[in-house]
């Protein structure tokens, strides 16, 4: 039996928060969120194939306040996972491991994903106002 009084790795409580930790955790969290979001995509397609009545149920859900909040969350998750995923692919190629680059690319993933989310929703809302 392990002696739980001694500090156990990975000593999370003694780490100072760094942006690289945030991007790593967010990549997993958004990945899980997007997996659930995929079921929504499947639902949309099944509803669209199932007839106008079924599709109305779907659009009523995504157009409801809860649906809009979920869609905003999913759209940011998608853009974040996309940006940070590209960052990981670059790192898999062996690039960007200098600490300065690592921190900078972490911030880039966060900021670019927020900008893309804002751009898409600005487009959606202005089009919604025009329609």
């Amino acid at each position: 039996m392990a002696d739980t009084r001694r500090p156990l790795s990975p000593h999370l409580s003694v780490y100072k928060w760094q942006v690289q930790m945030v991007t790593s955790i967010l990549h997993r969290a958004t990945g899980i969120a997007l997996s659930v979001g995929l079921l929504l995509v499947a639902w949309a397609l099944i509803a669209l194939a199932g007839g106008e009545e079924r599709f109305k149920h779907f659009t009523a859900f995504v157009g409801s306040p809860v649906g809009i909040i979920l869609l905003i969350g999913w759209s940011w998750s998608l853009f974040y996972h996309l940006c940070n995923g590209i960052r990981h692919l670059v790192q898999d190629g062996g690039y960007g491991y200098e600490i300065v680059q690592f921190v900078r690319s972490s911030w880039a993933s966060i900021i670019v994903s927020l900008l893309l989310t804002a751009a898409v929703w600005a487009y959606v809302l202005t089009l919604g106002a025009a329609a």
Binding site: I46, A49, G50, L127, G128
Partner: protein, 131 residues
């Protein structure tokens, strides 16, 4: 160890490159291949969804029924669920330490993903083929 080994080939020959799980780098590699595919398919899906904003039922259906849209949608659904299963598998393996719960969850995500993929693909085919 018998004095007369039946096999002259060094066992290391069979193990090399396969790792403890005997699957080698296939999980890692397929996750990257699907990730690269999803960079393109994900951005394309966002543009498709934006084009479907405020579209009525018939317009939305006609858009999905276009051959290239149908093909890319099927590619997206299959690739995204595949990528999601690989990602969720790692999360479950990392955080679920009770063996039966881990095995149950690993199977559950695969069953759900396969069913949702098949249902999504069938839906696109029904729309594209005008059923």
């Amino acid at each position: 160890m018998s004095a007369y080994p039946k096999e002259y080939r060094n066992p290391l020959k069979k193990a090399r490159g396969l790792g403890s799980a005997q699957h080698g780098v296939s999980h890692w590699w397929v996750q990257r291949v699907t990730a690269i595919a999803l960079v393109g398919l994900g951005i394309w899906l966002v543009t498709l969804v934006l084009r479907m904003l405020h579209a009525d039922y018939a317009t939305a259906r006609a858009l999905v029924a276009r051959p290239w849209n149908a093909v890319l949608l099927i590619a997206f659904v299959v690739t995204a669920f595949w990528h999601a299963v690989l990602g969720l598998q790692v999360v479950i393996e990392d955080y679920v330490h009770t063996r039966w719960k881990e095995a149950t969850l690993l199977m559950a995500i695969k069953f759900i993903a396969v069913l949702a993929t098949l249902a999504g693909v069938l839906a696109v085919l029904r729309i594209a083929l005008g059923a």
